[in-house]
């Protein structure tokens, strides 16, 4: 345990993780609507000590009921369209949809037409688009923070 904690404190020191001046409060809920698991890996990486998105006050929550932001990865398959709409419908207003990755924003969709509905904007109103295959954790974090800074008036504080 001691060795692990020492390794972690060394990483935090070397990675030069700053304490943000302003913290926001935003809860994210993730739905995988048909991705290749790449965007999930990078979303999970956001919580590792190198990025630590929580220090900005952005957290992942277990239920769409608790969420301000719906993070959607992947092209929407015909089978995930229903669950995706349900998750969005369960969210309280105001709500934001972030489409993460090229598949979700409709660039470079791969698959057979009859299995796919299309990109996320065919199903839900998309507010934030983050391109990349997969987008790096840096790209996701900075795009989220930028978008939240702009729309902070509509976000619960």
């Amino acid at each position: 345990m001691y060795v692990l904690l020492r390794q972690l404190s060394r990483i935090r020191r070397d990675a030069d993780i700053s304490v943000p001046k302003r913290r926001i409060s935003a809860a994210m809920r993730h739905v995988d609507s048909g991705s290749c698991n790449g965007c999930e890996q990078e979303l999970e990486a956001l919580s590792n000590p190198f990025y630590d998105l929580q220090r900005y006050g952005i957290t992942m929550v277990a239920s769409p009921r608790h969420a301000d932001i719906l993070v959607v990865t992947g092209t929407v398959t015909t089978r995930m369209e229903g669950p995706l709409r349900l998750a969005y419908g369960a969210m309280p207003e105001p709500r934001i949809v972030a489409a993460i990755g090229n598949c979700a924003i409709g660039a470079g969709v791969i698959g057979e037409a009859e299995c796919l509905v299309g990109d996320v904007s065919m199903v839900l109103p998309v507010d934030i688009r983050i391109p990349g295959c997969p987008p790096t954790p840096d790209a996701i974090a900075s795009a989220l923070l930028r978008a939240l800074g702009e729309s902070s008036t509509s976000l619960p504080r």
Partner: protein, 513 residues
């Protein structure tokens, strides 16, 4: 070149049985269209049944050295990688076509084929006589009885999870039949993310289709696309030169490294052991950054091509080797902390046990199989890569529980670091060798490629006229392991399922395709 044998429908079962009697191992089965009729193809490879660990044989995770033949020695030899003795393909393909689309089921002889047969039934409408009841796998029928095992009795209840889960996880649906907290049976309903990738690849050129196969799964991108590339090369009659084989071996091991670090951290997260989870997730991040420096992509996308090598940043190889050396020392120290933490190990031991015999019957592969004591690793028959002399590494006490599956991954780390160190020297000082392929064997209509990825062997079969894809089938390590995961969940508590799930760390995307 694979040996392809055509059999009549009435001899399908006996032909499969005959191959198994010759100690061939089942690799996968898929349906295809052939000249207006439906066809089944079964793939096998020549290898004795997996040998169990001899009692008393000691495997020291940290002390185990790389046993692979030194790469420098391999490179010194003249570039005739193709040797008729060792490189005549170890694969056997049985094909069978029937105008009515009706075949005898082999699932009683090969329980590992159960998902393959259900998929062939759902996607191609193949009738498999003797596979009773035929439960839906890819299809999503509304009636519960069409896809679940009926569980009745006093106090039984059902707990339904998914397709959307509580964390950042892929989509899939689990239906637990339980008495109180005790799980009696788990029914899986995956294929929520079915994108029809195999059908989308039909008609595409061999080079274009690798993009589609690669997008089946990010975390197995190298092993899946390499299995595909090897299948294409077998089909075209090409054999990789040593320089190309070395580069591909490097990529496969890089993928294994970050994946194993991720999986050990995920198991720590599964029991709420935050220091372990955070330490290993940061080590995974460091490994991903090495990948990015070398290949330009954190998950090594677009590093495999059919018939030729891709460019690796040789000027970054020395720095990468240094970083991996530091990572090695951190990883092994962190692993010892996890291994000798009694409360962590106590939580993992005896949870989600997959007995060796069941693992063998259900066709478990990769760390899941080795954690159950099966000496099974596709690297032992990867003649197209540089694994000469490779011996599968088993954990010290392979009882098949979560602790063994975790230890199976840790036991492989030193060998992977050793190989990477040596391979990176060759990247830094590239020998004046052609990284490509040489023509060797006559073309065949079906090519098979098998690569040991982080979750087990990826098997890819390609049928083509040499230019466009007629049929491609991908059977990843995750696909092979899902039935074992469902099996070893029974008898455990509901609260342990996330932990058991993490110990397999299976991918949904390459199963759903």
């Amino acid at each position: 070149m694979s040996v392809i044998t055509e059999v009549a429908p009435q001899h399908w079962q006996s032909a499969c049985s005959a191959l198994l009697d010759q100690k061939m191992r089942f690799l996968g089965l898929y349906a295809s269209h052939a000249e207006g009729a439906l066809a089944l193809r079964a793939m096998f490879h020549e290898q004795a049944e997996p040998v169990a660990l001899v009692p008393g044989e000691r495997r020291d995770g940290d002390g185990e050295r790389c046993r692979v033949r030194p790469f420098a020695e391999v490179l010194c030899e003249p570039d005739s990688g193709y040797r008729p003795g060792c490189s005549s393909s170890p694969f056997r393909v049985l094909t069978c076509s029937s105008a009515e689309g009706s075949f005898g089921s082999i699932v009683h002889r090969v329980p590992a084929a159960v998902w393959d047969e259900r998929e062939a039934h759902d996607l191609y409408g193949v009738e498999l006589k003797g596979h009773e009841p035929m439960r839906a796998l890819v299809a999503h029928p509304a009636a519960l009885n069409d896809w679940t095992v009926p569980v009745t009795g006093q106090g039984t209840n059902q707990v339904v999870v998914g397709p959307i889960h509580a964390g950042v996880i892929e989509s899939g649906h689990f239906r637990f039949h339980a008495v109180g907290e005790r799980i009696l049976n788990l029914d899986l309903r995956l294929f929520y993310k079915h994108r029809g990738l195999e059908r989308a690849a039909q008609g595409a050129s061999l080079e274009r289709a690798i993009k589609i196969i690669q997008r089946a799964c990010a975390t197995d991108a190298v092993s899946n696309s390499l299995a595909y590339a090897q299948a294409c090369e077998e089909l075209l009659g090409l054999w990789p030169t040593k320089a190309l084989a070395l580069q591909r071996t490097l990529l496969v091991e890089l993928e294994r490294l970050y994946s194993h670090l991720n999986d050990i951290g995920a198991i720590c997260a599964g029991i709420g052991f935050a220091p372990g989870a955070m330490a290993f997730s940061s080590m995974k991040e460091r490994a991903l950054r090495v990948n990015h420096a070398l290949s330009g992509h954190r998950y090594l996308f677009d590093t495999i091509a059919v018939g030729h090598a891709t460019r690796l940043a040789s000027e970054k190889a020395e720095a990468a080797a240094e970083e991996l050396e530091a990572l090695r020392s951190d990883a092994m120290r962190a692993w010892r902390e996890v291994l000798f933490n009694a409360s962590v190990q106590n939580r993992l031991k005896g949870t989600g046990t997959l007995p060796r015999k069941i693992a063998q019957r259900l066709g478990a592969v990769g760390p899941a199989a080795r954690g159950s004591g099966l000496k099974l690793d596709a690297r032992t028959f990867s003649a197209r890569l540089c694994y000469e002399g490779f011996v599968p590494l088993l954990p010290e006490d392979p009882t098949g529980d979560v602790a063994s599956r975790m230890a199976a991954r840790a036991a492989e780390l030193p060998a992977t670091f050793d190989m990477l160190k040596e391979l990176l020297e060759h990247v830094a000082h590239p020998p004046a060798l052609l990284a490509g392929t040489e023509e060797t064997a006559p073309c065949s209509p079906i090519g098979v490629g098998v690569v040991e990825g982080p979750r087990g062997q990826s098997v890819c079969a390609v049928e083509s006229d040499g230019e466009t894809i007629e049929r491609v089938h991908l059977r990843s390590g995750s696909y092979a392991n899902w039935p074992s995961l469902a099996y070893c969940t029974a008898g455990n508590l509901l609260g342990d399922f996330p932990l058991i799930n993490k110990s397999f760390e299976l991918c949904y995307a390459c199963v759903d395709r």
